[in-house]
């Protein structure tokens, strides 16, 4: 079977997100880059599905040239091919991103055949638009389920488990299909040295995206006001146990 995984390069902030002086972007001077844990799970799942059912997997991203790093990471985990839709400048809105992905999928499918299953992260780590997978699925006329935490492929069909507040719902979709997945789907592997060396040499295919006006335009980013809390130090090590037990009594837990 043929699989496509779509990922997004995002900064990996630590304890605090710092903005550029004009507030238009996250200041990434001192930050590394990554993809959302949801997308790491999507990559891992694609690798496992190909191992189990044969076929090939492709990882795709719309982003700056540097986003090749995120494609190579996925290749190091076992993905076969990488495709970059190169773009520079401010982030595109979800409608524009979905449009560009649809165009690219058509190009890739024209050349190498249909993707039986396309995996997306449920929402990107930074923008959290919650819609790219559904827009792409709709444009291509394929069924889609979001919030997916379990995937099982059988003959021409995929069973998806969607996480809901009180458990799971199970959905059976005919292939080709689309799933927006969540962390917890699997435990992603750590890429082995051999994979990383291969990924370094892998050819990344570039497909030029066409930008269409999305409709949603960022004005500025703002950090919410932090409520300053004075931290009371209750003590050190074992000696602090009675003080914490007092708090448990205070809040009615003991």
């Amino acid at each position: 079977m043929r699989l496509l995984v779509c990922v997004k390069r995002v900064p990996a902030p630590g304890a605090k997100i710092t903005l550029t002086p004009d507030g238009s972007e996250v200041d990434t001077t001192h930050l590394g880059f990554t993809v959302s844990p949801h997308e790491e799970c999507a990559v891992e799942e694609a690798v496992r599905l190909v191992a189990a059912h044969g076929g090939s997997s492709t990882v795709l991203t719309l982003g700056p040239l540097a986003a090749e790093d995120q494609l190579r990471n996925a290749i190091a985990m076992g993905i076969d091919h990488g495709t970059l839709l190169p773009m520079e400048g401010p982030e595109w809105d979800a409608r524009a991103v979905a449009g560009a992905i649809v165009d690219a999928v058509r190009v890739l499918e024209e050349d190498d055949g249909r993707f039986d299953l396309m995996l997306f992260g449920n929402e990107s780590a930074d923008a959290g638009n919650h819609q790219v997978a559904v827009r792409v699925a709709h444009a291509l006329g394929r069924p889609v389920v979001d919030g997916v935490k379990g995937i099982e492929v059988t003959d021409g069909e995929v069973a998806l488990r969607r996480a809901v507040a009180d458990g799971h719902t199970v959905h059976h979709l005919p292939l080709p299909a689309v799933a927006a997945v969540k962390e917890g789907l699997n435990l992603p592997r750590y890429p082995a040295m051999r994979g990383r060396l291969m990924a370094k040499k892998a050819t990344i295919r570039h497909v030029e995206p066409r930008h269409r006006e999305g409709g949603l335009r960022r004005l500025r980013l703002r950090a919410p006001e932090q409520q300053r809390t004075e931290t009371t130090v209750l003590g050190t090590g074992a000696a602090a146990a009675p003080a914490v037990a007092d708090i448990l009594e205070e809040v009615g837990l003991l």
Partner: protein
């Protein structure tokens, strides 16, 4: 006169809290211009529900009536029904809660109408050339102010960011059933089975969460948190490091890509307090951090802190709790 349409959800004859929040936000768009605040909903409407909607200023209730629109209706079918209703009601804005059902329904509505969609909004106002809104990024640690230019604005509203307030002037909330034309093909993603969570206290609603991170050092170290959780009627939580190390199941992970918790007490043991973890626990009423590092963000943001090695502190706390329970 402008019309604002809200897709609401209800269970057991009551509007969902997130739907009441969404109606409150929607009134900001109708009140200055005396517009219509209309709602669309799946499922039968009781008199109680109608009264509740009226209290929130709703002028009309469009019940979406079709045999395919039941409790299991997939988001594509709900979205298609709303899209058809939009043709009749001609709203300027359509909103809904960014809930488990609302979020995918709006993604499908956006796809079917090819309109832009602003997800997880906390504020919106009409401006000359469209709308200005605020939405959450990074799971809630960052706000984005954005301009929306669209024929019709589609928005989802972030849960629990706005207090739900009834309107000063109740609305008539007149029932206006609407029957869409839905194709069987829209139900392809309908659930074929449901699996309930195994019993026990759920992380999302536990009154106390005992959480461990990298500082726990092993899967075995969580045994003491397990025991504390069962003594206190709480749940065990963890950071992503603990999940990735295979010490805990992802079901226990607190944070941006895990579960959001809001317990009376959150005990964070050996967790540094990265933003992606913090968004998951910041709504706890009280946070106690246990950490060797007095400068760790979790410590500086907590209400109380225990400094030092958690491996010394936790067994002592367990002893103390046991003896107070026994005594």
């Amino acid at each position: 006169m402008s019309t604002v349409l809200v897709l609401v959800e209800h269970t057991d004859g009551e509007l969902a809290r997130t739907s009441r929040e969404t109606l409150t936000l929607a009134r900001n768009l109708t009140e200055p211009v005396e517009g219509h605040l209309e709602v669309a909903a799946v499922g039968t409407w009781s008199d109680e529900l109608r009264k509740e909607a009226a209290a929130f200023g709703v002028t009309a209730v469009h019940t979406l009536e079709h045999e395919l629109l039941d409790a299991d209706a997939p988001p594509a079918a709900v979205a298609e029904a709303v899209r058809q209703l939009m043709g009749v009601v001609t709203p300027s804005v359509v909103l809904g809660a960014a809930s488990e059902r609302g979020t995918p329904s709006f993604a499908h509505l956006a796809a079917r109408t090819d309109l832009p969609l602003a997800a997880n909004c906390t504020a919106v106002e009409t401006v000359d050339d469209g709308w200005e809104l605020t939405r959450l990024r990074w799971g809630g640690v960052l706000y984005e102010d954005a301009h929306l230019d669209a024929e019709v604005a589609l928005l989802t509203v972030a849960p629990h960011q706005i207090a739900a307030v009834p309107a000063t002037m109740p609305g008539p909330a007149e029932l206006e059933p609407f029957t869409p034309e839905l194709d069987e093909a829209l139900t392809v993603a309908r659930p074929v089975a449901r699996e309930a969570l195994s019993g026990g206290i759920s992380l999302a609603t536990a009154p106390v969460v005992l959480a461990g991170g990298r500082g726990m050092g092993s899967a075995e170290a969580f045994a003491v948190l397990e025991e504390l959780a069962s003594l206190l009627g709480g749940a065990v939580g963890c950071s992503r490091v603990a999940t990735n190390a295979g010490w805990r199941s992802h079901n226990d992970q607190v944070g941006q890509t895990g579960t959001r918790v809001a317990p009376d007490l959150y005990l964070a043991c050996g967790i540094s307090g990265a933003t992606q973890h913090w968004v998951g626990c910041m709504n706890a009423k009280r946070i106690v951090a246990v950490n060797t590092d007095a400068e760790a963000p979790m410590v500086t943001r907590a209400h109380e802190a225990v400094l030092g090695d958690l491996h010394e502190f936790l067994p002592a706390l367990l002893e103390e709790v046991r003896s107070r329970k026994g005594g």
